[in-house]
Symmetry: C2
Subunit: 432 residues, 2 copies
């Protein structure tokens, strides 16, 4: 089930969406069976782009922030899902430690932390926030707008456990994506549940693994629905060992971009789509959303290469010019909120969709990354229609849940993340 | 977690409620541990009476109706909980058959059935309604207000399975309390999940078993909170083999009523409560809410006995005058909605509280049964306060969730029902 939220998109339901709405019982059963075999991430958020003719997840966060952008109406759903998650992992839990990012001055981020504390407190846990920022040496209470506050306390590490002074948690929830590397203080904690696992951190995780898992998931899901998996899966390729500043690997990158643009052009022709193909180039590792470059033509790469060589490093909004890169089919977004280009972000706790919002950027075009400074967030409200979609209702009495499709795609990305975490688990036992 | 609903009661928080609010993490952990050992009923509703100084469940339904009295806002919570319930019982489920009561002309009841169909459809199942009413010989579509409809179809029984024509369910959900006896058509179904189990039906179930289990639960819970379990448990006694029309057993009943009134008087004195004690007398079996008699004095019994003997049968609002009776401590309700005496009803799906409403009766007094014709239903809305209870918030910025306490008591009754079902399971394996 996906809550019925009001989407910006209100146009006619196209073939793909209709197929998804009609297949709801089969789809829900498919997810139930997946979760019998695989463990969902503790929590996640997925950015989705809907081009109308196709839609796809473009980013899957395993350390979701922005919980404060969900409406208060969604809190009960998030709390109920949090309860289910805790019950499964550690029913004896009393104390939960949340480890946030080290942005102790960003009140937007801290409002997200406060929201997480609230969710898990309402789920019945004693929740405290432990900072791994060396600058936090004593408890620091930060007042937030609307009368909220967050108290950051310095973590205390003993030989085998991590906690706070007089607070010994059984579960530690990371809201810190560890993109700067895994700090030793969170390593070798074998007595406590550490969620998500350390190999979900961005210093270890690789986008290519996720995309590979998602491709597999989309093929199986496409089979279930009898659709071309391309309709929900952006094609991609990996260009390893590129260093544009050194002029290394440009040929590899160019040939990948060229090949992918050709493939997209072919698909567009097959489906009679009258749009200009584009790809996005981003680093294989790192959560840095600044490093996403839209490439509409191989010539763009030459200009980019030139800038990288002359300036020695990538400028804003361009990929870090060295390392392993991902070339991914670009997916247009044709949703608009207040005249700004928008993309939905779906929030999940355990295997449940608990809410979502639109990321909107007034100064970006439909083929550009929106996750950069200047973006605003518009919560998706619950539908106030008294009549949720139901079979057999009089025409007009029932509005379809347009958010359902986003919830399905969000969960497909979550299944892919689950496969990805299994495949990359350093502690996995191997059976030969 | 219990959703934050607006209660009618807005007075100061008394000691008991404060204790419950303060103990939330311990309480939630206690429930989690209970559900590790015991299976919650698939769905349930609990009538609660809050006298201020004490509160208690007065009726626990394992075939809850009235789902249509919950607000639409609560649908997502119910659906999410339904998903969790299905996943646990039968993740492979595709088809669910709902078996309703045989009231095919009561559109209020049918609106409840329509709501259940909607909840389980949104949880991702193909749902159909199979009537066991012999009068339903072919599919009958009944239009309901607001454009809804319910299609009642005759059930088809094969040797080992129950279904509809061309519809083979893996799970059968009873919304029929079987008070008229267990029909053969639902017996010996060993290949399908039948929920709740047949021994939950009112032709088999005994209130005394439930009260006994609840007493046990309230003692353990009282210990957890450090409170006198009487504050949440109405005392009771069982008077077997009474037949007032025949003048049989009146002495036993009278002595039980007298003893219980004395016990209550003593408790009221202990707590300095300036109210008149009363007891309710009801049949040990049967869901018939008509058969609940308020007794304030043993003399009431003589008058009742006289009426029973002269008229040969109990009149409206009086107990069936024969069989096994329960004498239970009466709990006042001091909630009022629109000047009518009100009692909250808490709805649960699996182990989750998903909503509630007030049952209101303008013509009844605070010590009388409200569950009789003439009652109306006022949904409890979600709190619109942007600030749910949270520790550390500025005074005034956070309102306590007054519905939380009701959710706790509802769940205690649910734990008791779980114990009761285990203790009375005819198929339970006995280990010696």
């Amino acid at each position: 089930m996906v809550p019925h939220l009001v989407t910006a998109l209100t146009g006619p339901i196209n073939e793909l969406e209709q197929r998804i709405l009609d297949s709801m019982p089969a789809i829900e059963r498919w997810f139930r069976l997946e979760w019998m075999e695989h463990t969902p991430p503790f929590y996640s958020s997925v950015d989705i782009r809907n081009a109308g003719f196709k839609l796809a997840p473009v980013d899957t966060s395993l350390f979701p922030r922005g919980w404060n952008n969900l409406t208060d109406d969604m809190l009960p759903l998030a709390v109920q899902a949090a309860q289910a998650a805790i019950e499964k992992i550690c029913p004896e839990a009393r104390n939960l430690l949340v480890i946030p990012e080290n942005h102790s001055k960003n009140t937007f981020y801290l409002a997200n932390v406060a929201r997480l504390v609230r969710i898990f407190h309402m789920a019945g846990l004693n929740v405290r926030v432990g900072s791994i920022d060396p600058a936090i040496k004593s408890p620091k209470k930060i007042e937030l707008p609307h009368g909220e506050s967050v108290c950051l306390e310095p973590v205390v590490r003993s030989r085998r456990r991590l906690g706070l002074k007089h607070f010994d948690p059984c579960t530690i929830l990371l809201n810190n994506d560890l993109s700067a590397g895994t700090p030793g203080i969170v390593e070798d904690l074998h007595e406590q549940y550490l969620l998500p696992p350390l190999h979900a951190g961005w210093s270890v995780r690789r986008k290519s693994n996720h995309l590979h898992s998602y491709e597999e998931v989309s093929k199986r899901f496409g089979k279930l629905l009898g659709i071309d998996p391309w309709l929900i899966n952006p094609m991609h390729a990996r260009a390893g060992g590129v260093d544009l500043a050194e002029g290394k690997g440009l040929d590899v990158l160019t040939s990948h971009v060229d090949a992918l643009l050709t493939k997209i052009r072919r698909k567009y022709k097959e489906y009679g789509i009258n749009e200009k193909p584009f790809v996005v180039v981003k680093s294989d590792n790192g959560a840095d959303p600044m490093g996403v470059m839209t490439v509409r033509d191989v010539k763009d790469l030459e200009a980019f290469n030139h800038r990288a060589r002359t300036r020695g490093a990538a400028a804003n909004d361009e990929v870090r010019a060295s390392g392993d890169l991902i070339v991914q089919e670009g997916v247009l977004t044709n949703e608009r909120v207040h005249d700004g280009v928008a993309e939905p972000v779906v929030y999940m706790m355990d295997r449940y969709v608990v809410g979502g919002f639109y990321r909107v950027h007034a100064e970006r075009s439909p083929d550009e990354n929106l996750n950069i400074p200047g973006a605003s967030f518009v919560p998706l409200a619950f539908s106030e229609s008294a009549h949720l979609p139901q079979p057999g209702a009089k025409p007009g009495a029932s509005a379809p849940n347009r958010f359902y499709m986003y919830g399905v795609i969000g969960r497909l990305a979550m299944v892919a993340a689950s496969y990805e975490m299994e495949a990359t688990d350093p502690d996995a036992e191997t059976y030969e």
